[in-house]
Each structure stands twice: as structure tokens, then as C-alpha cells.
């Protein structure tokens, strides 16, 4: 099938995509009676606990508005984490229809990413609303960066989603390794602390390597966009360019793997 035909087919599957995203969000927000409240409370409780622990016990207490710094880190992190983990089982979970109905398989990882992106947008909006109504820091023009950051971030998430959806169908323990990798990643990504602290304590070229992590760049740039430069400089243009390029590359690589293996999926589930 030519690429053009395939794109037309994907376009034709948009209703299916919408139905799957709707299903996932419905189930997430309604799963239990308090499904909606819980999905909002989880990030808040997470930040509350982290604030208490780290602000009281470490020298990050000097950072102004530490909770807001945390939200800028935990919300994007949760997005990339949940997308990756949920992608692992998106083919297996839908094995009944994968085995029996033809549709462009891309729809499954795509729906996982989109569902989580909508959730990210929603929690981000609540966070910004709270920030600018209650805390009232100055509103910055740099906020226009947010859609750009999330665009590249979504590309990265989609690439991972493509990759992990087929990888875990092929090798069923990928998801366990992934949880472990994300647990480590949480600490080597500037979530609890700003990257500026790392820069002060890490010699070159290690800091350059540290900032090759596209998630680190995205989080730092999110902080800069919402809260301004503060005590530490925002990511440099080189870091931003490298981060964006990594995201696009991840999408291309993930999709290439997915297209190569997708025909084997009905036999494997």
C-alpha cells in the first residue's frame, strides 16, 4: 500500500480514533463514582507530598513557589509515563478486535497518546487557573511557548507509544522494565529540582549530556514559560533545538518499528 493510500485510510479512521479516545476518557473519569475527582486529586496530592518533603528537608526551600515548580515537572512527566505504560497493553487489551476487524493499527497507540494529552491539557489548565487566580504571579508573554512545547512533547510520547505497543506485544516483560526505567528517570529528570542546580554541580560535558534528555528540556522550558527565568537561566536555543529534534526522531523511529511489525500483531496477541 502506498503512503498516500495509507494516509487516506488513517484519515478515514478518525471516527474510530475519536470513539476509542472517548471510551478511554469516559472509563478513566467514571471508573468509580469518584473517578473524575480521583484523576484530578492524584496530581495534587503528589505535589502536596513532594512539597512538604522536599521544601522542608532540602535547600530547595529557597525556590520561590516550589509547588508551582513541581507541577510544571510532574504534569508533563505523568503524561509521558502514563502514555508509555498504557501503550504497552493497548494491543493486548483490544485483542478481540485486532484479531477480527481490519483498521489501521496506528489508531490504538494514537488513541492512548491523545487520551493522555487531553488529560494533560485539562490538568494543566486547572493548574494555570489556580496559579493565576490564587497565587497571582505576573502573567508572562512566554506562555505562548506552551502549545509549541506540548506539540513536540506529544510527538515524543507518540513515538514511545508506537514503540512500546509493539515491543510489549512481542516481549511481554517490556512493561516491567519500563516501570523500573521510569522510576529511575524520575530522579535524573529535573522534576524535584531545577536543572540549574544540576548545572552548578555537574561538570561539562556531563551537563550537556544531561540536557539531551528531551523530557528535561520540555520541563525546563515549561517552567520558563509559566514562571519566568527566576534564579536559573532557561534552556539555550541549542538545547531547545536538540530537544525538538530528539522528539521528531523518536516519533519517526517509533513509527518505523511499528510499521515493520504491525502485520504480525494479529498472530501474536
Amino acid at each position: 500500500m502506498s503512503m498516500r493510500e495509507h494516509i487516506r485510510e488513517l484519515w478515514a479512521a478518525r471516527e474510530l480514533l475519536r470513539a476509542l479516545v472517548r471510551r478511554d476518557l469516559r472509563v478513566r473519569y467514571r471508573g468509580s463514582y469518584f473517578g473524575f475527582a480521583i484523576s484530578i486529586l492524584v496530581p495534587i496530592v503528589q505535589v502536596a507530598v513532594l512539597t512538604v518533603v522536599f521544601k522542608r528537608m532540602t535547600r530547595f526551600s529557597s525556590i520561590e513557589n516550589y509547588s508551582a515548580h513541581l507541577f510544571c515537572g510532574t504534569l508533563p512527566w505523568s503524561f509521558i509515563y502514563l502514555t508509555s505504560v498504557e501503550s504497552c497493553n493497548c494491543i493486548l487489551k483490544n485483542r478481540d478486535i485486532v484479531k477480527k476487524v481490519y483498521f489501521p493499527r496506528e489508531v490504538l497507540p494514537l488513541s492512548v497518546m491523545l487520551g493522555n494529552l487531553i488529560h494533560l491539557g485539562f490538568t494543566m489548565l486547572l493548574f494555570l487557573l489556580y496559579l493565576f487566580v490564587v497565587v497571582r504571579p505576573p502573567v508572562l508573554w512566554t506562555l505562548v511557548w506552551l502549545p509549541v512545547i506540548f506539540f513536540f512533547f506529544a510527538a515524543l510520547a507518540l513515538g514511545l507509544s508506537f514503540l512500546f505497543s509493539v515491543a510489549n506485544t512481542l516481549l511481554r516483560d517490556v512493561e516491567y522494565l519500563l516501570s523500573f526505567a521510569f522510576t529511575l528517570g524520575f530522579f535524573v529528570t529535573p522534576i524535584l529540582y531545577p536543572a540549574g542546580v544540576v548545572k552548578q554541580n555537574l561538570a561539562e560535558p556531563y551537563f550537556t549530556i544531561y540536557m539531551l534528555n528531551p523530557v528535561a528540556v520540555a520541563i525546563e522550558q515549561t517552567r520558563f514559560a509559566i514562571l519566568g527565568a527566576g534564579d536559573f537561566p532557561p534552556p539555550t536555543s541549542a538545547q531547545l533545538a536538540a530537544g525538538a529534534a530528539t522528539c521528531v526522531l523518536a516519533l519517526a523511529a517509533g513509527y518505523a518499528v511499528f510499521r515493520r511489525l504491525q502485520w504480525r500483531l494479529p498472530e501474536l496477541v
Binding site: 476509542l20 476487524v101 494479529p266
Partner: protein, 262 residues
């Protein structure tokens, strides 16, 4: 347009499908890592699930597929619905294909009957607005009463079955593929399903392909029958002839083909 110029619904030419069963394909990262350090041994076997099958199906035809287990019936359906990619040969299908799902497949237990109708309808290839046009008729066919607003996890298996069939028969595809899912529900509902199938059959634009071990049902519904064995066509022709020859070889009723019904 003259009838002669209408292209067939399905044209299959020398269709072949090979499956490779690899007994030591690593199924986890762990075993993949272990295998890296082992001497490679190849324990894969290939077999031809379909080996050179050619046929045409005209529009409006009802074709039955029979054959013992492992003869390639389900593989053929998989290839017709494009789930599987042929190893060789070609499949040309003209029109919208819909596979009747194993009942309840694609339903989400937490969603209500109505929500699942939309979900399943779209999975089977309808647009949302097409589901909306049919929703009343689907709800009426399923006969679930007030349960239609309750989550599907509260349904009995009979109710799930009715809902699944109700959606499937309302998709109205050009080509409907049915893989052994008819023997479900109570007698009244089964009759209703057959009535709906007859309606479908009476429409000269619609084509039906039915895989079944229930030879009586095949005889009653199909105009032509294809007898498959080990990936090859043994006989393709008038339903009564093929069934007679098939029964002569495989005995009638209680043989292996009955016991193994999926």
C-alpha cells in the same frame, strides 16, 4: 447497468498464506537476553495454511466455507478482511467488508449499552452519524429494555450476545463475513437472527460468507459451498452437491468437525 458488467464482489487468485511457528522465539526480554549467549538453534516450522486458492464470489451470493479444523477457513476469512497479509497471490474485494465479531468482542464492561453500540458500530466501520440513524432499530432488536442505559458488566451473557448481534446486523456491509457465531441465544432470538440473515440474503447487492461446522445451517442458507482441506479447495459448487460429498467423506454429524466447533 447490465448485470453482466457488475464486477464480482470478491476475486481471489492463487492465494497462499504461510505461517512460521518458531518454537524458540523469545517471549520476554529476559529470554531474549539469555538467548544472546546461547548457540543459536533454529526450531521454526513453516506450514501453508492456504496453498493456492482461487475463486470468485458474485454479488448477492451466499458462500459457505466448510472443512475440518485447521483446513484454512479462518485464515481465508482473515485474508479477505485484510487482517492478514497474503504470502502470495491476490485478494480483490469490492465494497465494505464487515466481520461479525465473536459476541461481546469490542464491548467495554464499564460503558452502558448505548455507549457500547456507538463504540462497536464505529469499530465495525460505521460513522457516528450512521450509528445515530440506526440506534433506535438496534435498541429495539436487542430487546434489553431499561438495561440499555446500564453498564454492560451488569448484563447476562445472553444479553451481551443480543446486543452484539443487534449491532452487527445493522452495519449493513456489502460483504459480511461470519465465523461460527450463530449458535447463540435462546431459540426465539436465533430465529430472529436467521430472519435477519434471510433479509440480508434477499438483497442482491449484499454478499455473505459463512464459516460453519453446522452443515444444516450451511445447507439452509448458502447457494454455493467451498470445501477446504489442508489449505486447498477440494470442491466448490452447488451447496447440496458439495455437502453430500463432504458428508460421504467425513461421516454425518458427530465426527471431528462437530466436536471441534470453536
Amino acid at each position: 447497468m447490465a448485470r453482466a458488467s457488475i464486477p464480482p464482489a470478491i476475486v481471489v487468485r492463487d492465494l497462499r498464506k504461510r505461517f512460521v511457528v518458531s518454537r524458540d522465539r523469545p517471549e520476554s526480554l529476559k529470554s531474549a537476553a539469555v538467548q544472546l549467549f546461547r548457540r543459536r538453534t533454529h526450531h521454526s516450522e513453516a506450514f501453508w495454511a492456504l496453498d493456492g486458492v482461487s475463486f470468485e464470489v458474485e454479488r448477492g451470493e451466499v458462500l459457505g466455507l466448510i472443512g475440518p479444523n485447521g483446513s484454512g477457513k479462518s485464515t481465508l476469512l482473515g485474508l479477505l478482511s485484510r487482517i492478514l497479509r497474503p504470502t502470495g497471490g491476490t485478494v480483490e474485494v469490492c465494497g465494505r467488508v464487515c466481520t461479525l465479531l465473536e459476541l461481546g468482542a469490542g464491548f467495554h464492561p464499564e460503558l452502558t449499552g448505548i455507549e457500547n453500540i456507538y463504540l462497536n458500530g464505529v469499530i465495525l466501520g460505521l460513522s457516528r452519524s450512521e450509528v445515530s440513524e440506526r440506534i433506535e432499530s438496534i435498541v429495539a432488536f436487542a430487546e434489553l429494555g431499561d438495561f440499555i442505559e446500564s453498564p454492560v458488566r451488569t448484563y447476562s451473557s445472553g444479553m451481551v450476545t443480543r446486543l452484539g448481534f443487534a449491532v452487527a446486523v445493522h452495519v449493513e456491509p456489502d460483504i459480511l463475513l461470519i465465523d461460527e457465531v450463530l449458535a447463540v441465544g435462546d431459540e426465539r432470538f436465533t430465529r430472529k437472527c436467521y430472519a435477519k440473515m434471510n433479509e440480508f440474503r434477499a438483497d442482491p447487492r449484499r454478499t455473505l460468507i459463512l464459516v460453519s461446522h453446522d452443515l444444516e445451517a450451511v445447507g439452509a442458507l448458502c447457494t454455493r459451498v467451498m470445501w477446504l482441506e489442508r489449505g486447498r479447495i477440494v470442491e466448490l459448487g452447488e451447496a447440496s452437491d458439495v455437502l453430500e460429498h463432504y458428508l460421504a467423506k467425513h461421516g454425518d454429524g458427530g465426527g471431528e468437525h462437530q466436536a471441534g466447533a470453536q
